[in-house]
Symmetry: D2
Subunit: 156 residues, 4 copies
């Protein structure tokens, strides 16, 4: 299997998370066997008065950054993988800017994958949040078209 | 101080989380000194193909259920309180229905509040998710109009 | 399979966690399909100047309370199950007394078990700590003598 | 204030965590404003049949590594700081060797400190565990002798 690259995963994310105007919500800036960097393209959808990115939006970015690590290592058919556990510390107010999620694989096993993700605003050094995310690995049926959306958890 | 009741907090949530059509996203069904029950009124915004409620939507509900406990006990001026830590286990696929968040106060101190929240779909017994949420308590300036939106963390 | 009862699990814990003087560290006070109650019999080993029970001791109790739920439901051969994730909030100073761990099963699947555990000191109402614990289920080889000690994680 | 160095903190840890034979349980190998490296000197106390380091022992190391970051930055009088939240993922079986805890400060504020800690066995690359730890900062009374043991949580 050729591991999907950043562009292929970005395209897959666009199909999985369609927006009302068709523009991408996430961009995969870099991906390797042990890491991934994602950008959350800040939109009105996430911005509340006070120009901040909400907690759930931050969680979504961390979650998708971890999912990207799985998709790269195991292929797009691993898109059936679901979040089993997420633990997040909120550290600083995000800036009115795109949000970057830097994921690192802590352990990739046959059944589970554990990643840590650091979130920061473009142009700021202080971390906005830190997450540790565990996934239960699962595969789509062999004949499933690879346009699946991220499924809810869990399967066991 | 008269503690805000369920209706007052529901109204406050509607002001804090406006939706495009003006309808409420959350309804506070019950609130006491030690607990709160919230309903997430499922909308297209949260439903993805496959009729599920996303992880971030579940996190948002758990977070707001915990915030409700703080608003009731400390007053709406405590709306400046921010999430410091959130830990969530995803247990089962939600049904295509409203989602209920049952929050219990584990500890309410002067600076912090810790709650646990159980999420389940209306009509289903199996828990969809379980969260433990820590808040850093903070108050709005005395003269602030109580229409504030939930601020991002943290202040320290 | 007859599910092991409280006494049988207590005996198993004594074999798994031998103490220097042979006395039990844990007592299973109650166990059912959905819950377990354990008592940590406070000893000098855990008490530090200031008469407190350490964080690691509290973690150990929560962990074993969750493990008890698994042993009861799946049999002692499930003793090979290992902790994959633990999240703990420390809420109040424990009293100079035995510590009780009340575990509830949030979800028991084929591969994983998620429990929440509430810790409190005998004679005190305020919770000392709250934990959410995830286990990866595993079984000892069929011929293994059931004296095994709790293995370290994880297997995957 | 001169920030305590690795040796001074090691000595303080020895006073805080006395062992039956007087030997150190922990050694601070390195400390800076943003990080700390601790070694857990494996002893019979922690080793169970199967030559493994228990979950609680791993938690203890992670906790003390985070505490070390606080002691270095804020001085030994900050020893009254207590763990408010700990989240830990267990990734691999430790080897029969000393355990290293690498802590990084994610955020150090006036009231709270959040660290992440990576645990690995000497001689092994695969992480044994990963923890994220939050502390509530507190100071000993000005006249307290700096021999205090680590207090249990929390104060608020």
């Amino acid at each position: 299997m050729t591991k999907p690259n950043a562009q292929e995963i970005s395209d897959f994310l666009l199909r999985s998370f369609p927006t009302s105007d068709g523009s991408a919500m996430f961009a995969v800036e870099q991906v390797s066997d042990t890491s991934a960097r994602l950008r959350l393209i800040a939109t009105k959808q996430h911005l509340r008065p006070g120009a901040s990115l909400s907690g759930p939006a931050q969680m979504g970015l961390a979650d998708i950054a971890a999912w990207t690590c799985i998709l790269h290592n195991l292929g797009l058919s691993a898109a059936a993988s679901v979040t089993s556990n997420l633990s997040m510390s909120f550290l600083a107010k995000p800036a009115h800017a795109d949000l970057i999620g830097d994921a690192q694989v802590l352990r990739l096993g046959k059944r589970t994958c554990v990643c840590e993700v650091r979130l920061y605003s473009v142009g700021q050094t202080q971390l906005v949040a830190h997450a540790t995310i565990s996934y239960a690995i699962a595969y789509l049926p062999a004949d499933a078209a690879l346009q699946s959306v991220k499924p809810p958890p869990p399967v066991d």
